[in-house]
């Protein structure tokens, strides 16, 4: 069976599974549409949260970025897992006790103000939409490869499928579908990783293999990788930080608190029966997430080594001395001929995400760091790196590069689609509930019927997909980078407001609103200065700041959410001190939220 047929078969089978489950668990009432009746056990809820959480950014994009960033890529790993510790301790149990089912509802009630709720809706929309742009980028990569079309066509097809998919169910459908999706995506991620780890290190567990020896030599895998990348002029893999230690610190913090402020993840913890289960769900979610996240560093390093090895025959050889090795690396016959390039390159060239340009006209592929060209490359007459590999393709291309069987490659395509679809669906649900429930039903049109509420939600979903798809055609960054910006927006607005709502009884509505607006305002300003206003190309305004990127203490825009959060906390504190105090019934309510006893089933749909 050809690879293409196999891919259709596997992707088709998994889709049939999801749709079957969605039909079986179809949502009846509004309440079911959003929270699945509160009856999902913690382990399953954790698994579904894992699928919801691990998006195209985690599955498709992250390991590719780590492969490129080396040690510095750890910021994604720590950032996107460490947030669960915050979530489990600082938010989940209390929000569950509170017993409403959307974030704006909590903000509106806790800060006794509809305006606060509207501000929360706007922040939520900004973060969720940005997040979906990242998903659409990833969906575009997956579909373009899967159907053998250009990246843009891939994005359009993805938009259609995500829409049909999200409108279908609702939370109950989604919860059980997501359990299935988790299973598909985790198998799709770990199976090729195990194969490749076996090939390169002889150890089936990538978590251990990455620390192991490189097969056929007496070197460690990481040592070999360090040597290869440094020979080719790249920074050392195991020590290269992301811009600076400060930037890496702030970036990690931004992702962590963003995790604890993302509406579609927080919503998950409303679907468990008890406060105790909310804590457990966060724990189980992290267990399931960590399975992929601890595999990712191995995937990253091994993909990087395999990529270099597939274009330079000397990479995997063992040489007695450094001189011999370097001589072999830059020998003309070591670089493979373009005409003899492996099939996976041909397949990815179709998508436009992998490009070759024969700069020195020798018909061979030279791939190295031409910004810091090694002496050997200059001497050999290399005229610049000739291969452009989009980082977002690394995970999907990885099994092809390693020559794994067709069914594994097909499975990875299905996994990538599962990851992107499950998250996009969860996010669209958060957006649709924010617009239809928190904005229209609770504020503008209180007498809206349940039916038109559902309808409004679906229209909101459709609009979000179109906007996200359009911006996904020209994404502000790689999928994981765009998603990091979304986390920054959530980190700078929603997390501080929720946390102060629980941990600071005296925080009043003026403080919370001023904090959210200031936090997200300063973050958006910094991001837009680099990436363009609302990510539209050509509208960036770095010129105002001397045209220098990362002008604030060398911190990159993707990492700025942590600074925004600091601004949020500071502004909220100051404003709350100079405005009327929080009323007594609210402080009592906060005290009540702090103890688990007396939790009741989620309500909120009725009013």
């Amino acid at each position: 069976m050809t690879l293409q047929t196999m891919t259709y078969l596997v992707v088709g089978a998994t889709f049939a599974l999801y749709i079957g489950i969605a039909i079986w668990a179809r949502a009846g009432s509004t309440s079911e549409f959003y929270v699945a009746g509160g009856g999902v056990p913690p382990v399953l809820n954790g698994m579904a949260t894992g699928a919801d959480w691990m998006s195209a950014a985690s599955f498709i994009s992250m390991a590719g970025l780590i492969a490129n960033m080396g040690y510095g890529g750890g910021l994604f790993l720590m950032g996107w897992t460490g947030g669960y510790v915050l979530l489990a301790m600082l938010l989940a149990p209390y929000l569950r006790k509170f017993g409403k089912f959307t974030v704006p509802q909590f903000i509106g009630d806790r800060y006794y103000s509809k305006s606060a709720s509207i501000v929360a809706v706007l922040c939520l929309l900004a973060a969720s939409l940005t997040y979906i742009i990242g998903q659409m980028t990833g969906v575009g990569v997956a579909f373009s490869r899967f159907l053998g079309v250009s990246n843009h066509v891939g994005v359009f097809i993805g938009m259609g499928i995500v829409f049909m998919y999200a409108v279908f169910g609702g939370m109950k459908g989604i919860t059980y579908t997501q359990v299935a999706q988790y299973c598909v995506l985790i198998l799709a991620y770990t199976i090729p990783a195990i194969f490749i780890s076996m090939q390169l290190t002889g150890n089936p567990l990538p978590q251990l293999g990455l620390g192991g020896g490189f097969v056929g030599t007496d070197m460690s895998l990481l040592g070999k990788l360090d040597q290869v990348v440094m020979d080719l002029g790249f920074p050392q893999y195991t020590t290269m930080t992301r811009i600076s230690t400060l930037n890496m610190f702030v970036y990690t913090m931004s992702l962590m608190i963003g995790t604890a402020g993302l509406p579609h993840v927080i919503m998950r913890f409303f679907t468990v029966p008890k406060v105790k289960d909310a804590r457990a769900s966060a724990g189980w979610a992290l267990v399931f997430i960590a399975i992929l996240y601890t595999t990712a560093p191995g995937v990253a390093a091994m993909a990087r080594l395999n990529l270099h090895a597939s274009v330079n025959k000397a990479v995997k050889m063992d040489y007695a001395t450094d001189e011999l090795r370097k001589a072999a690396m830059f020998a003309p016959e070591s670089s493979i001929k373009y005409d003899e390039r492996p099939d996976w390159m041909k397949r990815w060239e179709v998508t436009g995400l992998l490009k070759f340009e024969d700069k020195n006209g020798d018909g061979r592929i030279q791939y190295y760091n031409d910004k810091n060209p090694p002496a050997g490359a200059v001497a050999a007459g290399w005229k610049g790196s000739e291969l452009k590999v989009n980082r977002d393709i690394m995970v999907l291309a990885n099994p092809e590069i390693a020559n794994l069987p067709n069914w594994v490659i097909a499975l990875v395509a299905a996994g990538g689609l599962a990851a992107a679809l499950s998250t996009a669906a969860g996010l669209l649900l958060a957006i649709s509930s924010a617009i239809s429930h928190d904005l229209f039903k609770n504020i503008f049109m209180p007498d809206m019927s349940e039916k038109s509420e559902l309808m409004t939600g679906k229209v909101a979903m459709a609009c979000s997909i179109v906007v996200a798809g359009y911006l996904g055609l020209n994404p502000p960054d790689f999928a994981a980078g765009t998603v990091a910006i979304a986390f920054g927006l959530a980190a700078s607005s929603i997390f501080p407001a929720l946390m102060m709502g629980i941990f600071n009884k005296k925080m009043n509505k003026e403080g919370a609103m001023a904090g959210m607006l200031a936090g997200i305002g300063v973050t958006m300003f910094y991001v837009f200065a680099h990436k363009g206003i609302f990510f539209i190309k050509g509208t960036s305004f770095l010129g105002m700041f001397g045209g220098k990127a990362n002008f604030f203490m060398g911190i990159e825009p993707n990492a700025f959410g942590a600074i925004g959060a600091l601004v949020n906390f500071a502004v909220a504190y100051v404003v709350s001190k100079i405005t009327p105090a929080c009323p007594a019934h609210i402080t009592e309510m906060v005290e009540n939220v702090r103890v688990p006893r007396g939790s009741k089933a989620v309500d909120g749909a009725a009013h």
Partner: protein, 84 residues
């Protein structure tokens, strides 16, 4: 024993602070601030700082949530505010 709401909240905050201290130490400490220094040592073939950033922190995070859950359950019972 003081079973007031304040005492319960104080016990909760103490536990949260302890867990957060470990959370911060493994990730921001060992994974970022001291990573260079730790890289001179190794664990399972990994340079230690690199390991904390790309493996170790995550294992510790998982353990931390379950530790928190366990002790928080104890606190709930001690102050008689647990469910059911």
């Amino acid at each position: 024993m003081d079973k007031s709401g304040e005492a319960y909240w104080k016990a909760t905050l103490t536990l949260v602070a302890q867990v957060l201290a470990v959370w911060f130490f493994v990730s921001f400490g060992c994974g970022i601030l001291f990573a260079d220094a730790l890289n001179s040592m190794s664990i399972g073939g990994y340079p230690l700082g690199f390991w904390f950033a790309q493996q170790g922190s995550m294992y510790v995070f998982v353990i931390l949530i379950f530790v928190y859950m366990h002790f928080m359950g104890k606190i709930d019972e001690k102050f008689d505010v647990h469910e059911d």
